[in-house]
């Protein structure tokens, strides 16, 4: 991803977080294209704590934030795979208007890199593990 040409999102240069974008696929106003985004920021906490904050998505704080943005009643489920660094995250997003809601089922994994930094990566879930493999 380092070689990708990222473009700064307009009118964000004064913000404390650097925002970048990249579009690919269909160039028309409507399409099946996917959008890429990137944000870089200095956060006043340790790398471990930053990772933990993002990993523990079932905390009261995260749930409250979700309810504030999406309202109550929508699907939001986190399941951790037993004895692993893997999490399954299913969430319903209300897009609004005439557009249909979107549901995501994503698999998250994390690891410690050789330089001591932490990487949390996610991709669409493909696991066919039986429900008993998760907690």
């Amino acid at each position: 991803m380092q070689s990708v040409a990222w473009k700064r999102i307009p009118n964000t240069v004064r913000e404390s977080v650097s925002y970048f974008k990249r579009a690919e696929g269909d160039a028309s106003a409507w399409g099946k294209a996917s959008a890429w985004g990137k944000a870089v920021a200095t956060v006043d906490t340790s790398a471990t704590r930053a990772l933990a904050y993002n990993w523990c998505g079932a905390s009261y704080e995260h749930v409250a934030l979700h309810v504030k943005k999406q309202g109550t009643g929508g699907l939001r489920k986190l399941i951790y795979e037993n004895d692993s660094h893997t999490m399954l995250y299913a969430i319903l997003f209300r897009v609004g208007g005439v557009l249909a809601d979107r549901v995501f089922a994503t698999s998250f994994s994390w690891r410690e890199e050789d330089d001591g930094s932490f990487l949390l990566a996610w991709a669409p879930v493909k696991s066919t593990l039986p429900p008993s493999a998760w907690r």
Binding site: W36, G37, A39, A41, T45
Partner: protein, 207 residues
């Protein structure tokens, strides 16, 4: 049935929703024991047919989670800067610099040893200041050089660390506060990049 499908089908609204996908990563790299750099990269494919503007807006909204993190963990700028300075690594010796770096260092050190410095009136009794104008070569503009010396009560490494952290929180905040007082800036611009505002016919300078 896979667990993900089972979960989605268990919720009536989710079962009727369009399946979307996202992939990406979050990289947390330590800058100091309690300061880190977070890089968040995300790709969203909302599935179905959807206006690009909506997709771009949703992606930008997702990026906002980094700002939420920054706000949640924000501490006093001076405390964070002190931690950053104490974690500042020992700079490499001159012999380990590349050619371009050596050229910059050698050329700029020569500026200090040249003669003809004129003393300047200093706003502080413990800081001595000088100034001189380098004679312009043909086709070039006159360049003004400034020099200041003082004694600072900290180790040399800490001083160079402070200088290197040009975007340090306390520095940026004090700059912004100063500008805000003068220009009545909006509060959400308090972390703005340092751009010196000039009035009249002189255009703004990016520092």
């Amino acid at each position: 049935m896979a667990l993900a499908d089972e979960i989605i089908r268990s919720d009536a609204a989710a079962a009727q929703a369009t399946r979307a996908t996202t992939r990406g990563f979050l990289h947390c790299k330590a800058l100091a024991p309690s300061v880190c750099q977070v890089t968040y990269v995300v790709q969203a494919n909302l599935g179905g047919s959807i206006p690009k503007a909506v997709m771009a807006s949703r992606t930008k909204q997702t990026l906002g989670s980094v700002l939420e993190m920054q706000v949640k963990f924000e501490r006093k700028g001076k405390v964070v800067d002190a931690e950053m300075r104490s974690a500042f690594p020992l700079p490499p010796p001159l012999a380990e610099l590349n050619d371009e770096q050596k050229l910059v260092v050698e050329n700029n050190r020569a500026m200090e040893t040249e003669e003809a410095w004129k003393p300047l009136e200093s706003p502080h009794p413990l800081v001595r200041m000088w100034m001189k104008h380098a004679p312009p070569k043909k086709g070039e503009r006159t360049i003004a050089l400034g020099k200041a010396t003082t004694v600072i009560d900290c180790p040399a490494l800490e001083a160079i660390g402070e200088w290197s952290e040009a975007s340090a929180q306390s520095g940026t905040m004090s700059f912004a506060n100063e500008r805000q007082a003068k220009e009545n800036w909006a509060p959400d611009q308090s972390r703005a990049a340092p751009v010196e505002l000039r009035h009249c016919v002189v255009s703004s300078r990016s520092v």
